[in-house]
Chain length 396, copies 2
């Protein structure tokens, strides 16, 4: 048995790590746009990256290190994705780190992570100039979490103390960013998870990948897949109280909470909706259907319009290519049954109940296919005028 | 050699067919909502239907006829899709046709086609009452084309006389509807094509399917796939001047023109954009990429915002799962090269040129992957505030 105890703040809950965000001049009004995460000791690191074929330069730079490399420094910038920048994009990172090494000679195998507009070389000079603004001994999770934001409307951080049955404990904390370009078919956004506990390298890899599938890969804002999406897990191995089950659960909770924050912060979103698909032929088909629902423009606009139009749900299930049968299907809004074989047309009472559910900021749509045992839950949001506005204006 | 001569109007250009739209009370202000198409003689008929697993009742009713059945009557209604209505939905159609047979005993193997909201039984009484309003000898393509409209903002009809080298000729004409729920992975909307020329049954099937792939299946408004989409081709065999090549070309032109009208009428759309993908590994991959582009929310909102942000184009190509290489890729807006290996960042001049292209109501985005010879062109439109408004309010 173990307990997850939520802690205030974010990364500052992990000893031995230092972090801060500063302004290099890419965001207005001294808003942080560049952050570092530094460790006193060399850390084990594991990452899950975007499945986009045009992976950004920082991802290519990371992959040049050997599989089991250790690092003590992450540099993160917003406003420029350093994607589609070719060989030069990687060279820019190397040049930035050569400069940094003059100020901070102890850095080893530094890693960069970027988010922002695609197709522009990094503003190297500004980034290098920001080094003099950093206090490399700061523990300022707030400014770091803000520095990685793009269209995010709130910063995303979380931390847990994990208390084991024997009274011993360890810690895990993370910051993340993401609001648009959040897609189900991959890793999704930027997320940096720190822990003090010594996790076997093999568990880091397995657990990070496994939980990505049901957390960051289960959310969708607009169905697009960025060139830069990254989830990183670092441990400085300062704590020996490793318990696999407890760590796995804590990691999942960190990732699940941040994923839900990202959906909640979906560009222009007013509602978070869980699409719970069960009774599917298998889990894979359940996943395809749940993600189709969370990505359908017709479903998303009906959510915004608060219209309990289950026809759009049914039509999307039918279009998914997965096994389904209109005689076996049941659709619920929370616990209100809106469609079944026996109940095709909604009566006034059901419609009113369903309408009440849709008025909420958060609810679930349950689709029971009645075929076998496959299940998956995807998380999505509605599509509002605001989404169109944000994305029509993004660069200007 | 042959010539396609565009004719004014629509279906009235084909002898031996009669058609009209009337109001049964489902649309306000006496706007037509119910139409028939009738033939003096029995017609060969061929259809391509939606790939949605929840096919609507009229499609299931059609499929109960033997493969090579002949018909002389189509009944088409808007405002109710008769989808997800189970066995009763099919029985409703049979009951409607039993009633009609009392008024019009000569009907044989009548076919129904429906579009509108999913999940409600047909208003049978209103439909049957509309029979007394029909003039079964009318040739009123205008009211028929209007009767099948839902969120369409203009009616869609087209007609050609096809003149052969030997001076002989035949005719082809069609009406269609479609504005939302237009998806690339299937047949797409309602379209009724009439011809007088005697087409071998095998050619009807092959050509209708073939041209659906590059016309209706190449367009996208919102990536959703309806339960009712149908393209039908009827011939009354009154004309013996069949020429396969000429007929194929005429059929393709009819379908291509109507498909472009549908994109132009995309809900809330302000622009029609052709996504021309070439140099892909093969045609299938070109098709996947072209359709991903025409469906991407980030691409569609950038079109609305008139932002020549090729990064969203590149990111969508990378996310498609298809073979691509940032060193080989070239992206053009019409003939303005905005991305290539040598030209990563857009200079001011290029950006201004690209911006001018995007101001147009219609232009093309060309993606040359530089890998092999695969190509496909998809047609899409932008995503505006208006789209969200129409679809948030659809039922109310």
């Amino acid at each position: 048995m173990f307990r997850l105890i939520p802690l205030k703040g974010g990364l500052e809950n992990i000893d031995g790590f230092y972090f801060q965000g500063v302004n290099r001049g890419a965001k207005p009004n001294d808003t942080p746009d560049t952050a570092f995460i530094r460790s006193d000791t060399l850390c084990d690191i594991e990452a899950v990256f975007t499945t986009n074929r045009f992976q950004a330069a920082p991802i290519k730079h990371y992959k040049k290190y050997p599989d089991d490399f250790k690092t003590n420094f992450l540099l993160i910038n917003s406003k420029n994705a350093n994607a589609m920048t070719g060989k030069e994009g990687i060279e820019d990172i190397e040049e930035i780190f050569r400069s940094l090494k003059k100020t901070l000679p102890q850095i080893e195998n530094p890693v960069m992570s970027s988010t922002g507009v695609i197709g522009y070389r990094l503003d190297k000079e500004n980034i290098v100039n920001s080094f003099s603004k950093f206090d490399f001994n700061a523990k300022d999770s707030d400014s770091a979490a803000k520095a990685i934001m793009t269209t995010d409307s709130f910063k995303k951080e979380i931390a847990f103390k994990v208390e084991l049955e024997n009274g011993k404990s360890f810690h895990i904390a993370a910051i993340a960013k993401g609001a648009g370009m959040i897609n189900p078919a991959m890793a999704t956004m930027l997320c940096f998870i720190l822990t003090d506990v010594s996790v076997p390298k093999e568990d880091m890899k397995k657990l990070l990948f496994k939980h990505t599938q049901t957390t960051f890969n289960a959310i969708s804002v607009d169905g697009d897949t960025s060139t830069n999406d990254t989830v990183m897990l670092l441990t400085n191995n300062l704590n020996e109280n490793y318990d696999k089950e407890a760590f796995s659960e804590a990691l999942r909770e960190v990732m699940r909470n941040l994923a839900l924050m990202i959906v909640k912060d979906g560009e222009g979103a007013t509602k978070v909706v869980a699409f719970e698909v069960k009774g599917a032929k298998n889990d894979d088909e359940a996943k395809i259907i749940a993600k189709s629902l969370s990505n359908s423009l017709l479903v998303k606009t009906a959510l915004f319009g608060e219209d309990p139009n289950w026809g759009r749900i049914a039509s999307t299930i039918g279009a998914s290519g997965c096994e389904c049968d209109e005689e076996k299907l049941k659709i619920f809004y929370d616990d209100v049954l809106v469609y079944s074989k026996e109940k095709k047309e909604m009566d006034k009472e059901t419609e009113e109940k369903a309408f009440k559910v849709m008025k909420k900021n958060s609810f679930k749509i349950v689709c029971d296919l009645g075929i076998a045992e496959g299940s998956f839950t995807a998380y999505g949001c509605d599509l509002s005028y605001e989404y169109v506005k944000i994305n029509a204006d993004y660069r200007t």
